[in-house]
Symmetry: C2
Subunit: 157 residues, 2 copies
């Protein structure tokens, strides 16, 4: 019998963007935008993406990092949404067909400077499964995503 | 504009049951059993329950604590299941129609004493929303559920 383990980790990232909360929120809501910054990163090969931004909706991604990378999946389900203010979602990941993690993520959009800027607070709890412990790479990957989001907002006003 | 806050808390409960892991697991899987121990607690009035124990399936509960208690909901979605060994689920709760929390829970069933006993490890991360902070009552309620599960297994072999 395989030993199935679970390790629990958390991290929080904050970044201030020179845009209104509605623009940030819309980059998560609009599939055309999210496709660019969320799964369009350099080196990533996207094998599939479905979109359904609403409470109870699933967004499913299949991808690899480079041609020789193992197949990975990300199945995201939205648990709670407050327009322009908050998104709470859970997502499970697999790598090479095996469980990697299940996570609960809260993204808060806090208006600053009279609504001209937004503090994005990204709080994630990760349950790493079956011997995986990818906290450092998860934090690093998410930091990259927040940069990718900044690029998206700069390029496509 | 209402201020939407999020507070992050975690707790872990462990309890050893004098039953094999498969019996524990089945009490989560079988709606007839789960209906008794999970929503059948003293004082609880159940206004609705739907069942769908599989990855991606939703189980939805409507209930009140006493006739005069505010209406509450629990919408649970299963993220990862390993038969007889592990269940990972996310659930959102509302109280009086307002968001209360979103949680990620990992239940592990660890065989002990050659499989005659089971260590149940219940690890939960709670994101409490909009000023709620119910860590103590959540931990207390969950402790009660684990006792209710013990009663169920004792009564219905």
């Amino acid at each position: 019998m395989t030993l199935h383990t679970a390790i629990h980790k958390s991290f929080v990232l904050e970044r201030v963007y020179p845009h209104a909360p509605a623009r940030l929120f819309n980059a998560f809501k609009d599939p055309a935008k999210k496709a660019r910054w969320f799964v369009g990163g350099e080196g990533f090969i996207v094998d599939g993406a479905t979109w359904d931004f609403r409470v109870g909706g699933w967004e499913r991604f299949k991808f690899r990092f480079g041609e020789k990378g193992p197949p990975m999946t990300n199945d995201t389900v939205f648990m709670e949404i407050v327009e322009n203010q908050r998104i709470v979602f859970a997502y499970s990941m697999t790598i090479g067909g095996n469980p990697l993690s299940v996570s609960l993520t809260t993204v808060e959009f806090v208006a600053q400077d009279g609504g001209k800027k937004t503090l994005l607070r990204f709080s994630e709890h990760d349950t790493f499964l079956d011997g995986n412990d990818g906290l450092d790479s998860r934090r690093e990957g998410t930091t990259g995503l927040l940069q990718s989001l900044a690029n998206e907002l700069e390029k496509f006003p």
